[in-house]
Symmetry: C2
Subunit: 360 residues, 2 copies
């Protein structure tokens, strides 16, 4: 369907050619996925797709994929592009990402929380009762979470439907149509790809390594420190330093623990480094694993916030609130487990090798 | 104060001499600690000793220490003793252990749960709020737990006061006085200590290894499996197979997870093996560590039950119940962490070396 990987031609091509090929390919994917995503959104005014039938949102998924890659490439290799165009494009792509990521995030959050409740309510052995089995609060907590998440999803869905018809989206689609034709590059992009692209990708890795160095990895690599559980701040997210791109959006409560912010930041930088490798024709499998771990971190942290918010619903029973407390702690434990997994995985990476091939 | 360790003389002494020396020494400690423990109990009719001033219960602590060691020795080396006497002694010592262990267990449980609440309510940084900071439920949950635990302790205390004046205790004290004079041994105890005692201690180790082999150690050694959290059954404790000795008593609710029972069993067997090593003049430091880990397992499991029970108090607020849910999950996490620690520690033991020295 699309062009062959960049690897073969990268040795002779110019940086502009390689970057342009990536951008136009992704812009093409964007334009192909857009009407499908619009159709999907329109096809389900009330009933939303479940996580079990992700096929129902394939267009949205493809669209998000393209948006993330174009945005990432423009961030890392932006100096090769016409600066005003690159900056405006990134802003508009961030906006669309924030808009479209919310609904799938709610679908995943529902699945995560209801699965957690079900696990806590039964051992899966069929007979032995789980932690919350026999606890009257479990079905009520389940119903409450399901109701609140469905409501939030419906609200987000209306916004998406509205914005998909907006002039802003049409302008972005036009921008992508132009990009399929030609990426607006600067003369510096005439240099050999091997001389320019690895060095710029190295910048993405340096940012990643710097951000990881600031994480409490030593603590995280020792299991059961209780950090994520005990240090959950009630303060609003320190999101000023965290670009919106890549953040699991749709968190109306916004009360992410301050402690989680550096991990959110690393999650974005891992994605950027991944996409930079893709542009250079070196897809990095190790980074995929880290990316997944940090997605889990983010989703569990967001889910914990949702549970805490649900627990503040007026007139719930103490039994319901008790179960929500257990589920909240369970999600924070998942946050801790994700940090632990990251702490084990990161030192195993062959320190990404970027320094070697960037200077090679 | 007491005789030198058994090691030096063990090579020439008979098994009866070595065992007798241990038993009479511990019986002496028992008799010295008993009036002190009675005095301590009488001195605090209402106000109970806090865990911060354990000096207030030094006598009780010493008494429990001696009771555990005599009971353990009679279990492991019982075939050297007059059987009816040994059996009766063990029954009476178990009774006293069950009676006396409850109050200190409540003191420790209070300290554990209130500390957990305080940790969850603040980061210790002074400024940043913790998971439950700003949550109105935290002070109420704290007050509720403190009230219920104090009530339970007071009730147990009255029983202890009553039983310390009972004919049953006097009879046990008489039994210990006779034991200081002479342990009722069988002729088989005339054999060399080195020929008899290690072989019997080996029996205690074999029982321990067998019980550990039945634990899901492989799972426990992988962090964050969520087992202790997810598999907490609401079924009553499977305590039939678990001798009362060594169990952290005072759990009126008795709703230990069935999943915890094999760990409780191993805890008792670790203690028995420890005391067997002491009799043989080979105190085992590695076992001390396992013993502490399993004490932590037991205390966290018991604390979780206390919290679950408190959450069923009528007319508590949802905010209080929510906090109790978090604290419950936190204690179950401690259970899981203790299993993890055990799973890491056990394979590191030089497989206790008992097979070698038992046959040496």
């Amino acid at each position: 369907m699309t062009d062959a990987p960049m690897t073969a031609s990268a040795s002779t091509a110019t940086a502009g050619e390689v970057l342009s090929r990536c951008l136009t390919e992704q812009a093409g994917l964007f334009l192909r996925a857009l009407p499908q995503a619009v159709g999907e959104a329109g096809a389900r005014p009330g009933a939303l797709p479940s996580v079990n039938s992700p096929g129902g949102a394939a267009g949205t998924g493809e669209l998000l994929r393209a948006v993330r890659r174009i945005g990432g490439a423009l961030h890392t290799f932006g100096t090769l592009c016409e600066p005003v165009w690159a900056e405006e494009s990134r802003t508009e792509l961030r906006w669309l990402l924030g808009l479209l990521a919310q609904e799938p995030a709610f679908v995943r959050r529902s699945a995560r929380l209801l699965a957690a409740l079900d696990t806590l309510s039964s051992t899966g052995q069929g007979t032995a009762p789980g932690m919350l089995a026999g606890h009257q609060g479990a079905p009520k907590a389940r119903a409450l979470l399901e109701r609140q998440l469905t409501l939030a999803r419906t609200r987000v869905h209306s916004t998406v439907l509205q914005e998909l018809r907006s002039a802003r989206l049409h302008a972005l689609a036009d921008r992508m149509t132009l990009l399929v034709g030609e990426a607006p590059l600067l003369p510096v992009a005439q240099a050999r790809a091997g001389e320019v692209l690895p060095a710029q990708a190295a910048g993405a890795f340096a940012a990643l390594e710097q951000a990881v160095a600031a994480l409490p990895l030593q603590r995280a690599a020792t299991a059961y420190q209780g950090d994520a559980l005990h240090r959950l701040g009630a303060a609003p997210a320190v999101s000023a330093g965290v670009p919106a791109q890549g953040r699991s959006a749709g968190d109306a409560d916004g009360a992410l623990a301050a402690d989680d912010a550096p991990w959110s930041r690393v999650r974005i930088l891992v994605k950027r480094a991944r996409y930079a490798l893709e542009v250079c024709g070196r897809p990095g499998l190790e980074l995929d694993v880290l990316d997944q771990v940090l997605d889990r971190h983010q989703e569990a942290a967001d889910a914990a916030v949702t549970v805490a918010t649900a627990a503040r619903t007026p007139r719930i029973t103490p039994a319901t609130a008790y179960v929500l407390g257990v589920v909240h702690a369970d999600q924070r434990l998942e946050v801790e487990a994700a940090r632990y997994a990251f702490g084990l995985q990161w030192p195993k990476l062959p320190h990404l090798g970027w320094q070697e091939w960037a200077s090679a």
